[in-house]
Amino acid sequence: MKKRFLKPTEDPLWLRLFLGAVAIAFIAILLLLPLALVFKEAFANGIGAFWIAIKEPDTLASVRLSLIAAGIAVPLNMVFGIAAAWCITKYDFPGKTFLVTLIDLPFSVSPVVAGLIYVLVFGAQGWFGRSLADNNIHILFAVPGIVLATIFVTFPFVARELIPLMADQGCDEEEAAATLGATGLQTFLRVTLPNIKWGLLYGVLLCNARALGEFGAVSVVSGHIRGVTNTMPLHVQLLYDNYDYPGAFTVAALLAMLALLTLALKSLLEWRYADELAAAHRH
């Protein structure tokens, strides 16, 4: 047997152990410990207590509201994402790069500012506040405001997933379909959609997770009316602030399970359909 050295591209054992330990310890303390705590607190009094806390009417109302908000915001952002990706990747027009930057904008805006802007438009002292009040239309401190704020913060997810993906794929296939006599809708449904379905699902998944979990923006526009305008994350805050820790952690655990499910599906998509997701995710 030949004497073996480390390859020049391998780290020495001590360095591997050291960096590995630092990375694992940092992730464990910073990320895993809080997660473990949520489940420990939620199930501290057994699974029975967990179910009772969930069945509490205000909690159920918050679940319903979160589902409604996500149920409206996610499909709308999906349609927007497809439309934006379609016009950006299939055509050339002036100001295209600027448009892409604008689509990313909500990611760099504080969630509280995202809520604030809708207060400034629809609030009592806002642009349309007076006329809305005169016509007895409620946007702020009601479901529409919550939906609007949710749309804003989850705005870019689908679009930014699809744009690089569709740009990669070009438009040869669509043009071929068009020359074969397919209508626009047929081309989209039979050619484009099958090519982007996994990327679309990936974007929708992230969009949905954020929609269900959004706190800052929704907090500003909700008004925190118990059982009426409290989403799940807001209900967590309300319970926590009222020192109902088991209740707060129960709802938190429910949200954490959703987060873990999202992560699992996301990893599955990245692993199984790596080639069909945008280049940015191939690592």
């Binding site: 607190e41 448009l99 500012v113 992560l263």
Partner: protein, 284 residues
């Protein structure tokens, strides 16, 4: 909206690319959606503080409480971005270059702060770092208090921003290629010299980009911070919370003034990011 898409069509008469239908519809919908849901509300934010006038605007943001909150949000965000970049590079390196059982799990867990609702993170961190919590009780033995102090703000920001640094550096690291490291070794460099003089410098643009993204996210963060911060005015009160406080006092213009400062900061970050990216592209 019709007008805008019509302009788009007129300036760009049918080319070969336009054999595909739906340009007018998709661009029209995109612009309508973007303008009505994002741009008009943002315009309201910029216009609102104007009613204060320049001196009123300055007065609204220069009170000691507001300045302290801005300093806290941006200062701690910078610290969190630096901490996350340091550990983010190590974590990315371990994930890209080492092989060990459970790596896939570790890789997936990095995105937890992206998918875990911030309020959940907030109450968990707060309980964890409280003087009687799992971590807080250990720190208390050394006389360190984290929860309900500015350090609590830092902990929450480090939590929320970690994925940005890891996920920005990781793909660049994966594409680095082993040849430069091999070249360095054949030229006589030790492994540490190769890492310090060849690998790390090539990662700098990605590290800085990740740092900027982490900073932007942390500076605007609200949900995960307010539970652990204690929210003591001028001590551990972050700027986004102060916006909400002003709104609750019906001081719309004052709230908008702080919002504008934060928005301007994120614009500067966005510009800096673009600058960074073109700088990095030039060296490729």
């Amino acid at each position: 909206m019709k007008i805008m898409s019509a302009i788009g069509l007129k300036l760009f008469p049918l080319r070969s690319r336009h054999v595909l239908p739906g340009f007018r519809l998709s661009l029209g919908f995109t612009l309508f959606y973007l303008i009505s849901l994002v741009l008009i509300p943002l315009l309201a934010l910029v216009i609102r503080p104007m009613e204060l006038g320049p001196s009123g605007f300055w007065a609204a943001i220069s009170t000691p409480r507001v300045l302290a909150s801005l300093r806290l949000s941006f200062g701690m965000a910078l610290a969190a971005a630096v901490i996350d970049s340091f550990f983010g590079v190590i974590i990315a390196w371990v994930l890209v270059r080492y092989r060990f059982p459970g790596k896939g799990f570790l890789d997936a867990v990095i995105d937890l702060p992206f998918s875990l609702p911030t309020a959940v993170a907030g109450i968990a961190l707060s309980t964890l770092y409280a003087p009687n919590g799992w971590i807080g009780s250990v720190l208390a033995e050394y006389g360190i208090r984290v929860a309900y102090t500015p350090y609590g703000v830092l902990v929450a920001m480090v939590f929320i921003s970690l994925p940005f640094t890891v996920r920005t550096v990781q793909p660049v690291m994966a594409e680095l290629g082993l040849e430069v490291e091999e070249a360095a070794a054949t030229l006589g460099a030790t492994r540490l010299q190769t890492l310090a003089r060849v690998v790390l410098p090539m990662l700098w643009p990605a590290v800085l980009t990740g740092m900027a993204m982490a900073f932007a996210r942390a500076a605007g963060e609200y949900g995960s911070i307010i539970f652990i911060a204690g929210n003591i005015p001028a001590v551990s009160e972050i700027a986004p919370l102060l916006i909400i406080t002003k709104l609750e006092q019906y001081d719309y213009a004052g709230a908008a003034a702080i919002g504008v400062v934060m928005l301007a900061a994120s614009f500067v970050m966005l510009l800096a990011l673009n600058g960074l990216q073109s700088w990095a592209a030039k060296r490729r």
